[in-house]
C-alpha cells in the first residue's frame, strides 16, 4: 500500500493506481470529461488536473494518469488547479454552449459564455477520444480514428471512408459526453 495525502487527508492506494482512482475510492471529487473506467486513460481534457508536491517541486499534473507515490501531497483545488479548470470549462462552453454535460460543468464552475462563443453550434466534438477508445478497446474494431491535427483535428473513420468495420453497436453514441457523435455517426458508419 502507498500512503500519501489528498487535501491534507491521509489516503492509501495500491501500487499502480492513479491519483484519480484513489480520490474516487475515498469519495473525493475530481471532475473529468475524457475519463471512463472501461477504457485506458488518454489525458486530453485536462479537467482532472491536481497539484502535486513531491517534496522537490510542486506541479500541476493530470490525476487520471499520474501514478501514486508515497509521501506526495496532492491538492485538488489549489488556485493553479482552479485556474486551469475554469479556463477549460470556459473554452469548452464557448465551443459548444448547448451540450448538457458542458452546461453542468459551467454551472458548477460559475462560467458563462464569453464574447468569443461560437454561434450556431450546439454540440461540438471535444476530441476527448472516448468514442475511438471505446470502439477499439471495448468493441474491438477500428471503425473510428482521429484525422488531421491541431485546430483541424477531427474524429473520423479511417481514410475518411465510411467504415465497413462498424457493427453499429452504438457504444460510441453511449460514451460521447457532448452528444456530437449523434451528428457524426451517419458520416463514419457505412450503411
Amino acid at each position: 500500500m502507498i500512503t500519501f495525502t489528498i487535501n491534507g487527508q491521509e489516503v492509501q492506494g495500491q501500487d499502480g493506481w492513479t491519483i484519480l482512482e484513489v480520490a474516487r475510492w475515498h469519495g473525493i471529487d475530481i471532475p473529468t470529461l475524457c475519463h471512463y473506467e472501461a477504457v485506458e486513460p488518454y489525458g486530453a481534457c485536462r479537467l482532472c488536473v491536481v497539484e502535486v508536491d513531491d517534496g522537490k517541486r510542486s506541479r500541476v499534473v493530470i490525476s487520471c494518469m499520474y501514478p501514486i507515490r508515497s509521501g506526495i501531497q496532492v491538492k485538488t483545488d489549489s488556485p493553479r488547479v482552479a485556474n486551469v479548470r475554469r479556463w477549460i470549462v470556459q473554452l469548452l462552453l464557448d465551443e459548444s454552449p448547448g451540450a448538457p454535460k458542458i452546461q453542468e460543468l459551467a454551472k458548477a464552475f460559475r462560467v458563462t459564455p464569453s464574447r468569443f462563443k461560437k454561434e450556431g453550434v450546439e454540440f461540438a466534438c471535444h476530441l476527448c477520444g472516448l468514442c475511438i477508445r471505446a470502439c477499439q478497446e471495448v468493441v474491438g474494431v477500428q471503425a473510428l480514428t482521429f484525422g488531421n491535427r491541431g485546430v483541424l483535428k477531427e474524429v473520423t473513420a479511417p481514410y475518411h471512408q465510411r467504415s465497413t468495420d462498424c457493427i453499429r453497436c452504438g457504444t460510441c453514441l453511449y460514451v460521447c459526453p457532448t452528444g456530437a457523435m449523434e451528428q457524426l455517426f451517419p458520416q463514419v458508419s457505412a450503411p
Binding site: G43, A44, C45, R46, V49, R59, V60, V61, I62, M65, Y66, P67, R80, N83, V84, R86, W87, I88, L91, L92, D94, E95, F116, H126, L127, F146, N148, R149, G150, V151, L152, K153
Partner: protein, 636 residues
Amino acid sequence: MQITSIDDLQKAKGVGLAQLYPDKPKILVGMATCGLAAGAQKVYDFLSKKAQDAHWGGVVEKTGCIGFCYKEPLVDAILPGQPRVTYEQVTPEIAGALWEELAAGKIPEKQVMARIDVDDMILNGGPRKFYKGKLKGFLAKTPRYEDLDFFKLQRHIAMRNCGFIDPDNLLHYIARGGYFALYNALTAMTPDEVIAAVTTAGLRGRGGGGFPTGVKWASCRKAKGWPKYVLCNADEGDPGAYMDRSLIEGDPHSILEGMLIGAYAIGSSEGYIYVRAEYPLAVKTLQRAIFAAREAGLLGQNILGTGFSFDIKLNLGGGAFVCGESTALMASIEGKPGEPRAKYVHTVDKGLWDRPSNLNNVETWANVPVIIAKGADWYRDTGTEGSKGTKIFSLVGQVKNVGLVEVPMGVSIKDLVMEVGGGVPENREFKAIQIGGPSGGCIPKEHWGLPIDFDSLWDAGAIMGSGGMIVMDNSTCMVDVAKFFLDFLIDESCGKCIPCRLGLKRMREILEEFSAGKGSLEDLEELQSLSEAVKDGSLCALGGSAPNPVLTTLRYFRDEYEAHILQGKCPAAVCKDLITYSINPELCNGCTACVNECPQGAITGTKKEPHTLNASLCIKCGACFEVCKFGAVAVA
C-alpha cells in the same frame, strides 16, 4: 577501408591526414545549406571543372559551414606552406578571378575575408600551424579569423570539424581524432566510467530542457527491459534555428560517434536518428555517413574488434514540429500519429515500443566524443557553474552578422549581439531578443547583461531552447511578435489536449483585439491567467511553453500592450489598424515613385508637386513608405 582494430584506425588517420592536408594546393567550398542557398554549387562546379580541364595538381573539395552564413558562399584556399585564406561572397565570376591566380600558384587578394594560421585540431594532439616564418604582403594585414569580431568570443567544440573536413569523408573525420574516443571508451573504460565522465563534465541536454545527460544515461542503464534504444533528435523545427542542420551537414560522424559511446554506456545495440525530412541535404549526409561507417565496420557487429555491436537507422519525420517532443517523436518512429503522451513514467523506463529509450539532441551527441577524448575536467573548464561547455546559437533577425555561433556558456546577450553579431543594422536600436524559439521568451535590453546559461535564462522567463536567437529592433511590435509565435504554435499543435488546442486559439483572439486597439486592462489580466492555465494544463512541452512569448512580452513590455489598448497606438508602427500613413508636403519633392507604387491609387499628385494621400483608400501596405527615398512618407 575496413577499420576493425586500433591499428586500422591509426592507419586510417594517417591516410585521412594526408588527404586533409596534402602536399598540394587545395580549394574548399562551403557547401552546407547556407552556402548552397547563396550559390555555392555553381562556384564548386565551376572550380572543379577548371581544375579538371587544366589538369591542376591540387584538389577542390566541399566542406560544411564554419558559421559565417551571411558571407556565403565561402571559399578557402590552402597552398602548401601558407596560411589558409578565406574568401567571402564568392560568385562564379569572382571564383574565375580567384582561380586564375591560384592556378598560377599565387594567393589572390580579392574578396579576402580572413586567414587561418592554425588549425587547433582539439582532438588530435593539438594545433597544427599552416606555415613557418613571417607573413608578407597583404596576408600580414589580413585579420586572423579568431580576431574577427564574429569569431573573437567563439569556441568551436561541437563544431570542431565544421568547415574543416569533407563531411562525406570518414577518413577526414578520423584524421582529426574521430572514433578514437569510441575506441578509448570501449577498451579502457567501463560503461559506468563513461557515464561518470559525462556526469562530471556537466553536460546538459542541448535540445532545450537542459537535463543532465549523465543522469539520463544512468537511469536508462538502470532501467529494466530489453532491447534498449539510443535515439538522436534531429527534428529541429524552431523558426530561425538551424544549429542541428549545420552540425549534421558539416560533421555527421561526430553524432554517430557520440551515439556509439552512449549506446555502450547504456547497454544498447540499436539506435535511431529522427531527422526532419525538410532537411534534404542533412538526410543525405547522414545516410552517407551511416553507410560509410557501416562499410568500415564502425557500425554493426563487433565494432573495432571489441565485441560491442550497435547499428543506427534513420527515420524521416513527417513534418510536424511537435515530433521534436520526446514522446511524440517515439510515437512517430513507431508509425503512430505524432502525438505526445503524459510522461509520468519516463521514457528512459518506457519509451520507444515501451522499452527503455535514451533520447538526446544532435548537439549533445556531438559533444560526447570530446568529453571522452579530452576528459571531463577539460570540458568543465568552459562555461559557468551550472552550465558547462559551449552552446551553438543561430543568430538571426535584425543583426549585422547573421550566422551560426558557438560560444562558451555564460557569454552575455549583449556581447553576443553587439560583438559577435556586430549590432543592429542601419543605426536602429536593439529592443529585445527572442531566445529559445516559439517556446522561449523575449528578453529586453534592460536584461542584456544576463549571462546565457540554462538557469539564468529560465529565471528570466525564457529557455535556452535549441538555440535560436532572433534579434529584434525598435521597428518590431511586441504584440505582433507574440501573435507571430502563437500563429506558429496554433499551426503546429497536435490538438490532443484542450488547453493547447483551444487555449492558444483564444490567446490569439485576445491579441488580435489588442492589435486592433480594442480590449481593456481586464483583458490583459485574462490573457495573463489564460497563459498560466495553458502553461500548467497542457500535456506536453509544446503547450507548456507556448505562452512564454506572451508571458515575457507582458512582463517586459506591458507599456506597449497598454499603448495598444488605452491609447489605440502601436508604438512600433506595425499594427495596421492603429497606424496611418501621410505625406509630409515639406519633404515630398514630387518624384511620383509612391504614386506608381501604390496598389490602391490612394496617392495622387503631379510631378514636382507635393503629393497627397487619400486615407480612406489606403490599405496600409507600406509600399509608399518603402519606396520613398526622401523620408516624406510618415507613419503614425
